[in-house]
Symmetry: C2
């Protein structure tokens, strides 16, 4: 459906150009929808989304339940939590008319669902025996973004918002849930071979109405960070507002404590951006819509025999649960390679007369590793290749992040570092110092209590004022 252009992508070094063009060439998103900030998922992109979100679902289903709450939130509910509404009022879409008549009560399109879900939780939670309650939903959410919009990253309709909302008896139990959610998100990104950095957002950047926010960031190819998950400890702010109380073992009515945490299609933006190269997408086998493509090499006379062999391989692999396609189109092999490389297919299996005679197939991973696999151990061979390919993908991604994390002990070093990636600094915790960093380097203090596989101590004196500080993550973010 995208035009079948054979031209080259812009090089990945021109990240923005590369990203935008890859999205339509690999048939992920069509950006030509006639409203700014709204995009269309092509079938191929949607298939990728399905696989990624099925993965997320399977992790959550271990001990969460999926439910579904309405999109429309009445104005009075949204306005109940004062800080929350303040945080969102500039970017809420309002429905004001039904048919030709004005509505009595304005309805917001959910920017996030606290105010849709918690009135129901107030009805559902009665006793300590009902807790913990752990529910999630996968929905569309809306933000009237005035900044530059970008597919999968900054949208007016977030089409794939996974939001979990939990209720607990105590603040400490909610805190443990925050940690559980972080582990869960780390596992999710590990399956996508995406390295992450965890940190606690500064006070002024936390979720409006919450106690604190832990964020999951990754480092994009251009060195900017992308927030790809957040976990919020809500304390009892919302439970007091929405009257979510439970009868404790001692018979007393108490306010519950809550958390919420979300992941959006930015997870897919990160997946695309982290692994792709100048020839297109590179996907891990887990989420890939097509895990292996079989290309019959039918030069000469043995065409039918080769087609038969290709079909037999497909049948065998599909029966073992692989997502496989045979490309029988009347195109030169080179054109087929181009097509499937653009779409990030992890493995290309070539089968021609010489392979048949040698009792083998030729397997080429999307990272270029070429192997002959004996036909009679094809399935194990493919499994082995997928596992070494995934390890390679992970190693490449870690290498990228590792080389883009710096340590800066002076403002000059910060300024240099954020041209290339992120940096760790020592920071005293005062907003004035963070503001100065931003003013001088156009980079923000993203978080403290940094957790990453690459962490190095950034020293003890605040990089701005020299007072005692702790390690903070600084970078430019999407």
């Amino acid at each position: 459906m995208a035009e079948d252009d054979q031209g080259a992508l812009p090089p990945k070094g021109d990240f923005s150009g590369w990203y935008n063009e890859l999205l339509w060439r690999a048939e992920i998103m069509d950006v030509r929808y006639p409203v700014k900030g709204l995009y269309v998922w092509y079938p191929f992109g949607f298939s990728l989304r399905r696989n990624v979100y099925d993965m997320l679902r399977s992790l959550l289903d271990r001990d969460h339940q999926e439910a579904l709450f309405p999109l429309l939130i009445p104005e009075q509910e949204l306005a109940k939590e004062a800080e929350h509404i303040k945080g969102f009022e500039d970017e809420v879409y309002w429905v004001t008319h039904g048919g030709l008549s004005p509505l009595d009560v304005k309805l917001a399109l959910r920017p996030t669902s606290e105010c849709a879900i918690y009135p129901m939780y107030a009805l559902w939670v009665r006793s300590h025996a009902d807790l913990p309650l752990k529910i999630y939903q996968i929905v569309n959410a809306f933000r009237y973004e005035t900044k530059h919009t970008r597919p999968l990253i900054r949208l007016r309709e977030i089409t794939s918002f996974k939001e979990a909302h939990t209720v607990h008896t105590t603040w400490e139990d909610a805190e443990r849930q925050v940690e559980t959610a972080i582990s869960l998100y780390m596992e999710f990104y590990d399956r996508l071979c995406i390295p992450v950095i965890i940190s606690k957002r500064p006070e002024w950047d936390k979720f409006p109405g919450g106690d604190y926010t832990i964020a999951v960031d990754t480092v994009m190819p251009d060195g900017r960070t992308l927030q790809i998950g957040t976990v919020h400890h809500l304390g009892d702010h919302f439970s007091r507002t929405f009257q979510i109380t439970y009868e404790d073992v001692d018979g007393e009515q108490k306010f519950a404590h809550q958390t919420c945490y979300g992941i959006s299609e930015r997870s897919i933006a990160a997946l695309i951006s982290m692994h792709g190269d100048d020839r297109g997408l590179i996907l891990p086998p887990g989420p890939a819509p097509v895990q292996a493509v079989i290309i019959p090499i039918t030069i000469g006379k043995r065409k039918e025999e080769v087609s038969g062999a290709a079909a037999a391989i497909e049948k065998e692999m599909v029966a073992s649960g692989f997502r496989v396609k045979v490309d029988t189109r009347d195109l030169r092999p080179g054109a087929k390679y181009y097509y499937w490389e653009m779409r990030g297919v992890p493995l290309r299996i070539e089968i021609g007369p010489r392979d048949i005679d040698a009792g083998q197939v030729t397997a080429v991973t999307r990272l270029g590793q070429k192997t002959q696999v004996p036909r009679d151990r094809l399935l194990e061979g493919v499994r082995d290749l997928f596992s070494s390919y995934s390890a390679q993908l992970k190693e490449r991604a870690e290498e990228h992040v590792r080389t883009h994390i710096h340590i800066s002990r002076s403002m000059d070093e910060v300024a240099d570092a954020v041209e290339d990636g992120v940096t760790l600094v020592s920071w005293c915790g005062n907003k004035e110092c963070a503001d100065l960093i931003e003013e001088k380097t156009r980079a923000e203090v993203l978080g403290t209590e940094v957790r990453s596989a690459y962490l190095v101590d950034a020293g003890e004196s605040c990089v701005v004022c020299g007072k005692p500080g702790t390690t903070a993550l600084v970078g430019r973010s999407y």
Copy 2:
């Protein structure tokens, strides 16, 4: 989460009371959301929805692709097709503000997605080689309903709208797709054990902007019909409006022909209503969130042995792909039976000391059939029970529909028949006669070219005017 009330449901004879109360007692929907016509899916209900829609997806995935288009449709796109906008303008929700500022262009919440999808199809379709194009999406859609709203049946947010949109070279090819879609929907409802009646809606009741509409109806417990699927031949109306053209083999640019067809959560309303009884839901094994519940009967001393046996059965069944739960709660068996019967679980497996000694389990289907199944052929035994239980469910449902379809050869007979169900009449095709039927009986002419397993010829003279007529379906609908 719903209150754990042990009281009885209203009898199913009081269908409306039964339906409303069953929805929350079986934890399908919570109707207490603070906006009229919007409801909340409980986790149990959502799990049922997941299974039903996974079933629908698997049928569509045979030769359709899933995609995703935006919710918001700009006013000028929605207004392009004159009849279409006329059909929907009274019930469209309008977004008029983003944050605190009015929008330049009003945005409609999709009532259905022709006007969101077809501008993209105009870009995607180039040549006859791109056709047929068959895409579907599962989304929320909105109707500002002014009539009485009812969960799953008449909503302001349709949460589960599966809409397919196909493009073809010729009118005839689109007509064949209409037939394919009808077969697909019949297969879907057959898997849910729901008998359907297919008919062609009268001209004035077709999809706004289409050529003709084929509807899928079922007969609810109170004899009223529920439309649970529609298939529309759109001709080239929309392709002319949205300029969806293709280059034909002869090199000429031609307008494409289109169809669209949809199913909503009414499919779940029908599933609940058709099979349930005075004790609650009755679900076929296919969509049931829990297919079998294991109740350890631990009277006396052999408690641990029984618990172990129950856990072993669960493990064995889960490994074979069954959705199973052991109910280990500290409740009397009777209370557990009540609980799981309310939730429609197809099979209850009781295991106690005597069963262990006899090398068996006691299996009771939700329709009350009690069997001893030898422990060593448990899996085959369960499979056999599921298959006879499904056949029984289907037979019950068919019996219900069969006994509520009548033949009427006079207006008096029509008036009597529609008090109990639907009726077939001979009708000349004129709106005046249909209006008279409605005026006298408060029942509508639902369709012609009726296809059902129970069809009997209704004679040749229009039941109103006596002129030549053909068989039409008449009933009161939701």
